[in-house]
């Protein structure tokens, strides 16, 4: 049985247009003009126990809006959400105790308190048993290497340190459903890795249902098997990350290692008939070729040149995703 079930979810934001200048404000006093913005359009999917979904989309695609509806912060315009059998909008305590939303963009902990005090407060908020509380703090703060920072005010911590505290805070009550909205935003490569590994660790141990959004492909590749791609509020892809390339990338990359350096312009011109040369250095040439021409091209290469090694690879996944996010062909253009 899925832990998260979403059917035909919509969210329309109504914003009043603020006109420029004093006259504009005056006019707005009497007659306000509204613009409707469809942030989420007819989204349906479900997530099972232990499943980790990567939610991908450009800025403004509607990812955060979707998460806000799933956590009961905002009211859906249409459609329904069921998480662990509850409707998030009702904000039942039993439901709230089982979920967590981690936002990389915004501090949730109390700015003026040291992490230790924040955690104590959360212990009371979530009514966490003493023993579980102690063990969790001990374990997590050592794992993330922040034990020595527990008594420093949150506002004095660096972004990365604070994010680690936020992470600990949101896992204290061992949520069964976890929403991560760009948990690694703005962090250095090492911290990103630490946090990724840490999240994976939690997932392995407690197998929650997870929805993760991130603009870093590394996060997605490391943590998620299944991804949802959202564009202008609509889900345009729901499937395995590994299938994505085959379905949407028309090209593959042939990496050829020649016996000797190819200097003549001829060969380059020759190869360009088959595809785009991405890389040409020493004996190495990387060629991006349409899937259909892969065998032709390899045959041609092997027949005409002396080649030591040759491999065929998928295009980098982030390039594929980028092209999906940009590509207007995938669904009807007039909605874009």
């Amino acid at each position: 049985m899925p832990l998260i079930k979403i059917n035909n979810l919509h969210k329309k934001f109504r914003v009043h247009k603020k006109e420029e200048g004093f006259l504009g404000s005056l006019k707005a006093l009497f007659k306000r003009q509204y613009i409707d913005k469809e942030a989420v359009v007819d989204v349906s999917f479900s997530v099972g126990k232990g499943e980790i979904i990567g939610l991908l989309g450009a800025n403004g695609a509607g990812k955060t809006t979707l998460l806000k509806m799933l956590t009961g912060i905002i009211h859906p315009t249409k459609g329904n959400v069921e998480i662990l059998g509850y409707n998030p909008w009702d904000r039942k305590n039993e439901f709230l105790k089982e979920i967590s939303l981690i936002m990389g963009q915004k501090a949730q902990l109390w700015w003026d308190l040291p992490a230790a005090d924040c955690f104590l407060l959360l212990k009371e908020i979530y009514v966490i048993p003493e023993k579980q509380y102690r063990e969790t703090i001990e374990e997590l703060s050592i794992k993330l290497n922040v034990k020595h920072l527990l008594n420093i005010q949150i506002r004095r911590l660096s972004l990365g340190e604070r994010m680690k505290m936020e992470l600990i805070a949101s896992l204290l009550h061992r949520p069964k459903v976890l929403f991560l909205d760009e948990p690694t935003i703005g962090l250095d490569v090492k911290s990103q890795r630490v946090i990724r590994e840490f999240i994976l660790d939690y997932i392995k141990k407690y197998s929650p249902a997870v929805i993760l959004t991130s603009h870093y492909m590394d996060d997605i590749q490391y943590l998620c098997e299944r991804v949802l791609i959202i564009r202008s509020g609509k889900i345009v892809y729901d499937g395995l990350l590994t299938d994505l390339a085959q379905k949407y990338s028309p090209n593959k990359i042939i990496k050829a290692h020649f016996k000797e350096k190819q200097e003549s312009l001829n060969i380059l011109l020759d190869l360009q008939k088959y595809g785009e040369i991405l890389h040409n250095e020493k004996e190495q040439i990387h060629l991006m070729v349409n899937r259909e021409n892969i065998s032709n091209t390899t045959n041609y290469l092997l027949e005409h040149y002396e080649i030591i090694d040759l491999s065929i690879e998928e295009v980098d996944i982030s390039i594929t995703i980028e092209s999906i996010l940009d590509n207007k062909k995938l669904d009807s253009i007039n909605d874009y």
């Binding site: 955060t64 806000k68 912060i73 939303l101 915004k106 949730q108 109390w110 003026d112 407060l121 009371e124």
Partner: protein
């Protein structure tokens, strides 16, 4: 929301408030002197001009005591201005986090409110003791243990009432961007009709009758008169019942507004 969480919140809030406010005592004393000084000159002039010894049942000296007391009591009834204002929670999106917590928001805010005003409590008692020891009370003021006890209960209820009225107003931040502009207006109404600016007995009789049916008098006028021993126990019990009904009324209104407001909320800031 558990009792433990309630007091934990209160405690933390009190601690941070205290640690933040180096200027707290200085500003309190200066504010007190300024406000009381203005009143002093004003009523001195009024009594002199009108050539009467008693206005609205108050002699000049008991008028001073009235203001002294009402200023002190208001510190507890109003609480301190807090950075955890409900309106800014809504406006800046801090509400998001409270919506995720399995706690009752209004109770949580009330705990914070009590915590933030903790220093005011200390001020209230210190100033109160000084006033009682130093100042000769006129004989129309009958301070007694009973009246002090009754007054403490009254002030406590006044605090809840004020909190709820304020909460209701602040919830309009779901619809309006700048609720703070309403703050001054609210204080004007409440202090005028509640007996902070003037004792209600100074108003014309008709107005007094109207004010009697409104909740505002329970904020300042009624607590002060209770403290001064001007309210008999029987009437006091009846008035307390009425003030509790007002609290219930505002609580229900707040709940309705909260429900409607949440539908509007867009979770800004993330």
């Amino acid at each position: 929301m558990t009792t433990k969480l309630f007091f934990k919140t209160l405690n933390l809030e009190a601690r941070t408030t205290m640690s933040y406010r180096f200027d707290f005592w200085i500003s309190a004393v200066i504010g007190f002197i300024a406000e009381f000084g203005a009143v002093w000159f004003l009523w001195n002039a009024v009594f002199k001009e009108s050539n009467s010894d008693v206005i609205g049942g108050y002699s000049l000296s008991s008028m001073y005591i009235y203001y002294l007391t009402v200023i002190l009591i208001s510190k507890i009834v109003r609480g301190s201005r807090s950075k955890n204002d409900i309106a800014s929670d809504i406006y800046q999106g801090n509400l998001n986090k409270y919506l995720l917590f399995p706690v009752n928001y209004i109770l949580y805010k009330y705990a914070q409110h009590l915590g933030v005003m903790f220093p005011s409590f200390i001020q209230f008692f210190l100033f109160g003791v000084v006033v009682i020891l130093v100042i000769d009370l006129p004989n129309d003021i009958n301070l007694s243990f009973t009246s002090i006890f009754m007054a403490l209960i009254t002030i406590f209820i006044a605090n809840i009432l004020y909190f709820l009225m304020n909460y209701m107003l602040k919830l309009t931040a779901f619809w309006i961007d700048n609720v703070w502009s309403l703050d001054a207006f609210k204080w004007f109404i409440v202090s005028l009709l509640g007996g902070y600016m003037l004792p209600i007995s100074v108003f014309p009789k008709n107005l007094q009758i109207v004010l009697n049916y409104l909740p505002f008098k329970f904020l300042f006028d009624f607590p002060v008169n209770t403290l001064f021993g001007k309210i008999g126990v029987e009437i006091w019990v009846k008035e307390i019942a009425i003030s509790l009904i007002w609290c219930l009324f505002f609580l229900i209104v707040c709940r309705l507004v909260w429900k409607k407001g949440r539908l509007q909320y867009t979770g800004v800031g993330i």
